[in-house]
């Protein structure tokens, strides 16, 4: 089959690799009909997240049709059309039973899990599709076929005639943006929410905040097309290259600051100032994995008693962290990988009832063969690129801009 393969830092390619096979009786094989490139795939491309090995199949946002199931698979069958959350969860461990699916005790295989434990000081979180050997080294879904372990827990049937593009993002960015907004505990009609980063996750976080009743949502970025997309949803926007973002947020909130701030940026924040320069230097020297400008701004802008919610990905240690401001204002931090499984069905309901059509975020469609080129377009934010959807079975050669 064809698959997108990590070939080294700043290098992904489409290669012919063996088709996946059932390894355990709880596995399913899915023929992928649509897959997407995620902002967090860019951290792998850049080599900022450790633990990739040459030849790894990447991609964690995918859906398709089940073509094979192991003997012990009960909930889904061959022919089912399914979406598959980006994280792997066993469904039976204590965290899974409490709905903390991304904290699954059992889905990161033993040697990898032990390595993460050395870094995290406690048990490893769950495995992830196509996202480094730290998190299991599971082959990803930017491919024509993918092996889905824990198929009973990870395959969600889509029985309506919604198009792939309307349900594909239930695998990650919609639940991720939604969880970020939900865990702010927004008081409807009262709370103001600011979202740093108007990428795909930021877009869904902003729309989710509105769906949850936020009185006002402000989105901060520097890319005009992305700000335009947020504006179209009814958000106020701030271009941090044109305005002093902290002043602008105070002005927009009567001097209070937003009640909740969502960091949809993660470890490759741009931004400016001495802190940002230091982060970039340390990251270049591989002394630090994270550039935390967005977090600093989130903490400094947030109102007293507010929430800083962080769906953006972070990997390692940071410094120059404004802990005093966070303490002084009594902030609550909510962060971590999304418990995707928890959100698939409730958010599918919202799509079916017409509250949101997630396909708004798509700017580029192409066949899988165009993945290497589109990784770069997406990374460099060229050509108005916000979200790329790939067809693993499409004819190579053409990139369709929406």
């Amino acid at each position: 089959m064809k698959a997108v393969v990590w070939q080294g830092t700043n290098k992904v390619g489409v290669e012919r690799v063996p088709d996946p096979t059932l390894i355990l009786q709880t596995d399913a094989i899915v023929r992928v009909t649509s897959t997407a490139i995620c902002g967090s795939d860019l951290h792998l491309l850049d080599g900022f997240i450790p633990g990739m090995e040459r030849g790894d199949i990447v991609g964690h946002e995918f859906m398709g049709e089940i073509v094979e199931v192991g003997r012990d698979v009960r909930n889904v069958k061959v022919g089912d059309r399914v979406v598959v959350p980006f994280n792997l969860a066993c469904g039976v461990c204590d965290p899974c039973r409490r709905g903390l699916f991304s904290a699954c005790d059992n889905s990161n295989p033993a040697p990898n899990a032990r390595t993460v434990e050395a870094l995290y000081g406690a048990m490893s979180p769950g495995g992830l599709f196509g996202y480094t050997h730290m998190f299991g080294g599971y082959a990803g879904g930017q491919a024509q076929f993918v092996r889905v372990p824990f198929a009973d827990v990870g395959c969600f049937k889509i029985e309506s005639d919604l198009r792939d593009e309307q349900v594909l993002f239930l695998t990650d960015i919609f639940p991720t943006g939604y969880q970020a907004a939900e865990q702010c505990g927004i008081v409807p009609g009262r709370d103001v929410v600011a979202v740093f980063g108007a990428g795909p996750v930021g877009q869904f976080a902003a729309r989710s905040a509105l769906m949850l009743g936020a009185a006002h949502v402000i989105v901060i970025d520097r890319v005009p097309e992305r700000l335009g997309m947020a504006e179209a949803a009814g958000c106020q926007v701030i271009n941090y290259e044109k305005e002093d973002v902290l002043l602008a947020l105070r002005d927009a909130t009567g001097g209070r600051g937003p009640d909740h701030v969502i960091d949809g940026v993660g470890l490759e924040a741009h931004g400016h100032g001495p802190g940002a320069l230091l982060d970039t230097a340390e990251q270049k020297m591989r002394m630090s994995f994270d550039r935390i400008t967005a977090v600093r701004w989130a903490i400094l802008s947030c109102a007293k008693g507010g929430t800083v919610s962080m769906p953006g990905v972070y990997a390692g240690l940071v410094d120059k962290f404004p802990l005093g401001a966070a303490f002084g204002k009594g902030l609550t931090f909510r962060l971590g990988q999304t418990h995707t499984h928890r959100y698939v069905l409730p958010l599918l309901d919202r799509i079916q009832s017409g509250q949101i059509d997630p396909s708004f975020v798509i700017t580029h469609r192409a066949s899988l063969d165009e993945a290497p080129e589109l990784y770069k377009t997406f990374r460099d934010k060229h050509d108005g690129c916000v979200k790329v959807v790939l067809d693993p079975w499409g004819q190579p050669g053409e990139v369709q801009k929406v």
Partner: protein, 246 residues
């Protein structure tokens, strides 16, 4: 825990890693980078690095072990008792009752499933059993006896005098708070071939019993909670396409 081990019994390396990899995986290297391997290297003073290198080629292992504290061993958190035994312990919570889990461990012939470096355990009578591990130059066997057997709470064992590999161990079972099952704690003591330096080399090359114990406990938890343990062995990759390992 007590371990009545005689002080002089150089022996083949008992705990063979089941992995064929000889060095740290790229992932482990990545993590070591985060944790500051550079700083660790700089902290090596007093000829410890030379000692390590010498040790690595197997020269003078015993002599070094006799010198006692090894700064690298301290940095790597290798623990030893006064007799020079290396101590390994770890804990894990498993979603089953203490009685169920005790029963799995008490059936000693199950042990190779729980501790993957063991090749077999043969029950000789009520108290005695014969343990076999694959060694670098053929299998190594010894006899062990149960020193404690408290159903649902504790199992302890100890190698009998004359064993090629002197070791002792215990497993404790305790109900976890709430409905989380059982907290299992394992304490092992063994005489590392090559003493402290042997333990350091083993840790750095990823063949050290504390790492093995962690992997074993994670596998055990998964076997008990899922009925199998998850794996990616045999999955598709761009390496397989080139005839490399998966």
């Amino acid at each position: 825990m007590t371990a009545d081990l005689s002080p002089n019994s150089p022996s083949p390396r008992p705990y063979r890693q089941h992995s064929t990899e000889s060095l740290l995986s790229p992932t482990e290297r990545g993590v070591m980078g985060v944790l500051g391997l550079a700083a660790l290297t700089l902290s090596l003073r007093g000829g410890a690095l030379e000692r390590l290198l010498l040790g690595a080629v197997g020269v003078g292992l015993a002599g070094m072990a006799a010198t006692g504290t090894n700064p690298l061993a301290t940095a790597l958190k290798i623990r030893q008792n006064e007799e020079g035994d290396t101590l390994v312990s770890d804990a894990i919570t498993v979603g089953k009752s203490p009685e169920d889990l005790y029963a799995v461990w008490r059936n000693l012939t199950n042990l190779p499933l729980l501790m993957r470096h063991l090749k077999s355990v043969e029950v000789l009578d009520e108290r005695r059993s014969r343990w076999t591990v694959p060694g670098p130059v053929g299998d190594v066997s010894w006899e062990a006896e149960l020193t404690a057997d408290e159903p649902g709470r504790r199992i302890a064992w100890q190698s009998l005098p004359g064993a090629a590999v002197e070791n002792s161990g215990e497993v404790l079972f305790r109900p976890a708070p709430g409905d989380r099952g059982t907290e299992i704690r394992v304490n092992l003591a063994y005489r590392a071939p090559g003493g402290t330096t042997g333990a350091v080399i083993a840790r750095l090359t990823g063949q050290e019993p504390s790492q093995q114990l962690r992997d074993d406990l994670l596998r055990f938890k998964r076997e008990q909670e899922l009925g199998y343990y998850p794996t990616t062995e045999g999955q598709s990759s761009g390496r397989a396409a080139k005839g490399g390992q998966q």
